[in-house]
């Protein structure tokens, strides 16, 4: 992880750690904090606890997003204090869309298109708040839609269940917009629970969302998504998200947490050791629920 972040994800880049609730690479976010990157533009639909931590650590100058909160719990205090000007020496610029707008931006980036059209934003204040959201007439004379510009991250980081050494990456469960964010990016880091033989990928090609062709680094980091989750492997640690609410309300408590859980540890293995095996064991699925297998057939 250390090498991947050092070589692929330098300061002053436009970076996206994607994953909608599921598969959020906290391990990569923490490594970015440890390496004291600066002036990042961070893009993500839902900044979530990971960007609250990264922004509290001072790695970013700008946030591009569509929903700012701790889902089902409350707010993200570190981000909020910087937007509301409470911490005046660390201002945070924001550029705001809706979810479909952000997904459309990645899609336009992934497809090399100049914009993505969508039926949203009509009669709202969002285009006033963000002038990059613009109305366009249909070239076929059937009405007006809104356009959003492509988003092309310098680096996209995704967490996944498994990949081959070549970076062919397979995901099941919520897919979010990781595929779009990866294809939109110049460089891609894939962090996986498990490295698998190429034959495992080829036995189930429908499950591949990102081909190794566009992947610059594969990092094997079991539990790298905690406290978010990995379908079939470990559950979302909702207790962590609830506990974060008290921490993020207080800047000193937030900084203390970062020291204890990020700066003073050398990586994810140390983090999991500190978290403890009982906590980890409690996050296993209540039972197994395997997919039925399908027969692709062989054609020679």
């Amino acid at each position: 992880m250390s090498d991947a972040i050092a070589t692929v994800s330098p300061s002053r880049t436009r970076s996206a750690i994607e994953g909608f609730t599921h598969l959020i690479s906290f391990a990569a976010g923490h490594e970015i904090i440890r390496q004291r990157k600066r002036d990042l533009t961070l893009a993500r639909l839902t900044p979530d606890v990971i960007y609250d931590q990264m922004i509290a650590a001072g790695v970013a100058r700008k946030l591009v997003f569509s929903w700012l909160g701790n889902p089902g719990v409350g707010g993200l205090g570190a981000i909020r204090r910087r937007i509301e000007g409470e911490i005046a020496d660390e201002p945070l610029e924001v550029e705001e869309y809706s979810h479909f707008g952000m997904v459309g931006r990645y899609t336009a980036g992934a497809m090399n298109l100049p914009f993505f059209p969508l039926r949203s934003y009509f009669e709202t204040d969002l285009p006033k708040a963000n002038p990059r959201i613009r109305p366009i007439r249909s070239p076929y004379d059937d009405g007006t839609v809104y356009a959003v510009p492509p988003l092309r991250p310098d680096v996209t980081i995704v967490h996944a269940q498994r990949a081959s050494a070549a970076g062919d990456t397979q995901v099941w469960g919520l897919l979010g917009c990781q595929k779009e964010a990866a294809f939109a990016a110049d460089r891609v880091i894939v962090v996986v629970e498990e490295l698998v033989d190429e034959a495992v990928v080829r036995a189930d090609p429908n499950r591949t969302i990102i081909p190794g062709l566009i992947v610059d680094a594969v990092v094997v980091e079991p539990w790298g998504a905690h406290p978010s989750y990995v379908q079939g492997a470990y559950d979302r640690d909702n207790r962590f998200y609830l506990d974060w609410d008290a921490i993020t309300r207080d800047e000193a408590a937030t900084q203390a947490w970062l020291r204890e859980w990020v700066h003073d540890l050398d990586g994810r293995a140390a983090y999991m050791e500190k978290l403890g095996p009982e906590r980890a064991a409690a996050l296993g699925p209540s039972e197994s629920a395997p997919s039925g297998s399908v027969d692709y057939g062989a054609y020679r």
Binding site: R119, C177, P285
Partner: protein
């Protein structure tokens, strides 16, 4: 019926009952999540739950804290990318009800979830749109669930995140028609005090008062002169079954009903 219940429980039950007869519901974060899951277990067993995380036909075995929980995946009809969910399911017009929460709402059902105060120097920064803006425009109708107070039911919202009936029904209908919107806008608002629908002018009207609530309390917690149905109904209290589902199955920790 001697069982006591909280205002939050009454609000969740009333909201769930409004979903009777509906087919496809887009589930928002927070209170909508528990209301829709209660409806699925009571008045609307055939309801297809759509989660913006990319799930159609979810069968959650537990009430998820977040709307991206692994329980919405296991056993679902389809798990799709967010591009497909917003494009093929929502924008295509397949969602009957978009179920939203709000920080501020006005008499025409326009919603603010972005900021309190000016956008550039907000007094309070709120979560923002998420999917709410496109849900309000593309879902066939919109339900809203929120607690009412003079801070949330306001004459003028600070920021319009999601359009309701704009400046009134006539204007909203014209703009929706000319713009080719598939949505007809807000149809129900459920609060801790009562149930509102929208009248011919596109304005919120109190149609049912929850047990224990008063018209004075309603008037005292709304920032405009609210329309009240002359034949105002009283919301039937929660049944034992509804309360048992909320307390024992959906929210044993009291996260939503506190």
């Amino acid at each position: 019926m001697t069982e006591t219940f909280s205002k939050s429980e009454m609000m969740i039950v009333a909201a769930a009952r409004e979903l009777a007869g509906q087919r496809v519901c887009f589930v928002g974060v927070g209170l909508p999540n528990i209301a829709v899951n209660l409806a699925k277990r009571t008045v609307a067993p055939d309801l297809e739950l759509v989660y913006e995380a990319g799930v159609f036909g979810a069968r959650p075995a537990r009430l998820p804290l977040s709307i991206g929980d692994p329980t919405i995946v296991t056993g679902a009809t389809a798990v799709v990318s967010m591009l497909e969910l917003f494009g093929y399911y929502l924008q295509r017009g397949l969602v009957d009800v978009g179920f939203l929460g709000a920080a501020q709402i006005d008499r025409f059902g326009n919603i603010n979830t972005t900021v309190i105060g000016p956008y550039d120097h907000p007094k309070t920064r709120l979560p923002g749109s998420g999917g709410a803006c496109e849900i309000a425009i593309n879902a066939r109708q919109v339900f809203v669930i929120m607690r009412q107070s003079t801070r949330s039911f306001v004459e003028a919202i600070d920021f319009r995140t999601s359009p309701g009936n704009l400046g009134g029904a006539e204007q909203a209908e014209r703009i929706r028609r000319e713009g080719g919107w598939l949505g007809r806008g807000p149809s129900v608002v459920v609060t801790d005090l009562g149930i509102y629908h929208f009248d011919d002018a596109g304005e919120m009207r109190l149609d049912s008062l929850h047990p224990g609530a008063t018209v004075e309390a309603v008037r005292g917690s709304i920032g405009w002169e609210v329309a009240i149905n002359p034949s105002l109904a009283e919301t039937p209290p929660p049944t034992e079954d509804e309360l048992a589902l909320i307390r024992d199955e959906l929210d044993p920790g009291g996260v939503y009903t506190k």
